[in-house]
């Protein structure tokens, strides 16, 4: 039987194997060792989610706790990347991009273009996304679309332990700035992960379930809700093809469009807010390049245009889930145009 480890262990293993391979890799972030300067245990936390736990013992001062100064330490990781190191920096929650976005948006993302192709900025910014743990409005967002919007950045959004490891190793070896989004509800998810080092390439979505009736395009934790929905719908005789984007920049347009060519019906499932989102981006892609295949309007299942609420029942209502996806798939599968009505008669 293949070895099973958690999403969190997969990330730790990727960091460990890469640090052993390449001395230029350093890890910076708040409490990523934990306990720096304090009288108790060193390596007390290993990051707020324990992802980097144990690495300090192996790699010592290549892991550095930072003050709560995101602009300075995210910027420092970027500056170090431009001058010879290959830093992995942890931005504890992606919501904190508000206090360091200039360094990502105007510095890291722009160097190569502004400097006429002469800069390389091999930095990885690991950051946590996602609602569902009652963490309220400032610790629960999924902001990957904001980063995906910015040319010069690559955006990685893994949904399972295998991809987490392979995509993180790919991210660390990549020579462009990469934002690596980890959904907080996935850390304990177990899955088959090879012990040896391997990479998963960017820009290749995965078809996690094949089906010819409706295409569900999704990412991160929503891959699992979408798969659940697909299982329910299978009982009704509807076969869904579930596509896990894996990276939003670069985006695998081909896999999406090929699937739409077969199904003609699309539901996009995205935990983020709906305006200017991955959901609208994919809907626009399909409406443009996949127009001739479409048999129904593209349907989006997203959070509403609100911040994430604290109250548990409100937060559950906020998040897309299998039931909402089932309803959307039924709607698009039942949709009849004159074209589909005519072909059935």
């Amino acid at each position: 039987m293949a070895r099973q480890i958690t999403f969190q262990q997969a990330i730790n293993e990727a960091l460990d194997q890469e640090m052993a391979r390449d001395e230029r890799i350093v890890i910076l972030g708040e409490d990523i060792v934990g306990g720096a300067g304090a009288p108790g245990e060193i390596d007390a936390w290993g990051g707020v989610m324990g992802v980097t736990k144990g690495l300090h013992g192996k790699y010592g001062d290549r892991l550095m706790d930072t003050p709560i100064s995101e602009s300075a330490f995210v910027g420092a990781a970027i500056g170090a990347a431009a001058t010879g190191l290959r830093p992995v920096v942890e931005l504890m929650f992606n919501d904190f991009m508000g206090v360091c976005f200039d360094q990502i948006l105007n510095q890291a993302a722009k160097f190569r273009y502004m400097f006429g192709g002469k800069a390389e900025t091999p930095v990885v910014i690991r950051t946590m996304i996602g609602a569902g743990v009652r963490a309220a409005a400032q610790h629960s967002q999924s902001l990957y679309s904001m980063f995906t919007h910015v040319p010069g950045l690559k955006c990685v959004v893994p949904s399972n332990p295998y991809d987490a490891k392979g995509l993180l190793i790919e991210s660390i070896r990549d020579n462009d700035p990469v934002i690596f989004f980890e959904h907080k509800k996935l850390y304990r998810l177990e899955g088959d992960v090879p012990e040896e080092s391997f990479t998963v390439p960017f820009g290749e979505a995965e078809i996690v379930r094949e089906g010819g009736d409706v295409t569900i395009v999704t990412l991160a934790e929503m891959v699992h809700e979408s798969t659940k929905a697909a299982e329910i719908l299978q009982q009704e005789g509807l076969e869904c093809e579930v596509i896990d984007l894996r990276t939003t920049s670069p985006l695998d347009e081909e896999t999406i469009l090929e699937s739409v060519e077969n199904t003609g019906r699309v539901v996009v499932v995205d935990e983020a807010n709906p305006r200017c989102s991955m959901a609208t981006d994919i809907a626009a892609l399909v409406a443009g390049a996949g127009f001739s295949s479409l048999k129904a309007p593209v349907r989006m299942v997203t959070a509403p245009h609100t911040p994430v609420p604290f109250n548990d029942s409100l937060e559950d209502l906020y998040k897309p889930d299998a039931n909402k996806i089932v309803a959307a798939v039924r709607e698009v599968s039942e949709y009849q145009t004159w074209k589909t009505a005519a072909s059935k008669s």
């Binding site: 350093v26 550095m64 930072t66 003050p67 100064s69 602009s71 300075a72 330490f73 995210v74 910027g75 420092a76 990781a77 970027i78 500056g79 170090a80 990347a81 431009a82 001058t83 010879g84 190191l85 830093p87 200039d102 360094q103 105007n106 510095q107 722009k110 160097f111 190569r112 273009y113 502004m114 400097f115 006429g116 192709g117 002469k118 800069a119 390389e120 040319p151 010069g152 690559k154 990549d174 020579n175 462009d176 820009g203 670069p250």
Partner: protein, 322 residues
């Protein structure tokens, strides 16, 4: 920290190169030949050269929107710079960066920066890289009095201190952040005082006095090279032109700029001191002046004759691979 005659002459040549570059950019911009936003460094030359004379190409600097002087002082090619300002394909950045983003990473010049306070965090990173590489290299962040009010600068002073980084923060206090006076916008008695507040050795020097800047910067840079951590250097100086080219400077006092050129010209001061002491013959400076004038004239002519970028260049250089 005694300068040899050759070093002094080289410093003068660099300062004159910056001055002449900026004077020509001023003329070409006024004539409508240079597009976009341009911020001139004329008047502040002693600071860039006084600091960068201590640096090798393995040392890094990060600059500001007023970055031409730092580039030249760090050894960046003036032909490439001028072509870049004109937006030409032969420019240092292929015409995609312009005045505010001139950079040459091979020379440790991490870029002029369009974001006030953008550089200090980057310099912490370059200093961290230098520290890990262990070759005694340093990184210098140039910031203005305006940039000294940014949170990024405060955060970086603290980070550099707690990590004992070989970083030097050079604050060029020219008295104005755009049109707002430092006397209004800087709450501390001096910006050096702020550095001390973060636990850094910090001094204030007359930024028109090349030798004073050279000496103070040398101490700070040597301290960093010895592994004794970051310092802050506040240079009090003046810019001869406005915040940007086209700035009517109505916020400045009447005749303020005119008297600056008479009383506070760092180039004149350096050449007068060196000739008065008999160290350098005035004819030597005059010879440098004509060489530099010819060089800069040539950069302008070459830039004007250089090709525009190709349409395909729009889409390249976004990523190393995508």
């Amino acid at each position: 920290m005694q300068l040899t005659k050759d070093e002094l002459i080289e410093a003068y040549r660099l300062m004159k190169t910056i001055r002449e570059f900026e004077e020509q950019v001023h003329l070409e911009f006024s004539a409508g030949q240079i597009p976009g936003f341009v911020h001139l460094y004329a008047g502040e030359e002693a600071c860039a050269v006084g600091v960068c004379t201590h640096l090798s190409r393995e040392d890094s600097i990060a600059s500001t929107h007023r970055g031409h002087g730092h580039c030249i002082a760090k050894g960046v090619d003036v032909h490439g710079m001028m072509a870049e300002l004109f937006g030409r394909k032969t420019g240092l950045c292929g015409g995609k960066g312009g005045s505010m983003h001139v950079a040459d990473l091979d020379l440790g010049m991490m870029g002029a920066n369009g974001i006030v306070g953008g550089g200090p965090p980057l310099v912490c990173g370059a200093a961290l890289a230098a520290k890990r590489q262990g070759k005694g290299n340093v990184a210098v962040a140039f910031v203005g009095d305006g940039g000294s009010n940014q949170g990024t600068t405060f955060e970086s002073l603290n980070l550099a201190k707690i990590w004992n980084l070989p970083a030097i923060f050079v604050v060029e206090n020219n008295g104005y952040a755009e049109a707002t006076a430092a006397s209004y916008s800087v709450g501390a008695e001096s910006i050096a005082e702020r550095g001390r507040g973060f636990g850094l050795p910090a001094v204030q020097v007359d930024g028109h006095d090349f030798l004073a800047v050279y000496e103070a910067a040398g101490e700070a840079i040597e301290r960093a090279r010895r592994g004794e951590g970051p310092s802050l250097l506040e240079c009090r100086l003046n810019r001869f032109y406005g915040h940007f080219e086209g700035d009517a400077q109505t916020y400045r006092g009447e005749d303020e700029v005119k008297s600056l050129r008479e009383d506070q010209d760092c180039l004149l001061r350096l050449s007068q001191e060196a000739t008065a002491s008999g160290e350098v013959d005035p004819a030597e400076f005059a010879a440098i002046d004509s060489e530099v004038e010819a060089l800069i004239k040539d950069t302008v002519e070459a830039a004007k004759a250089a090709p525009q970028p190709d349409a395909e260049d729009l889409l390249t250089d976004v990523y190393v691979s995508y």
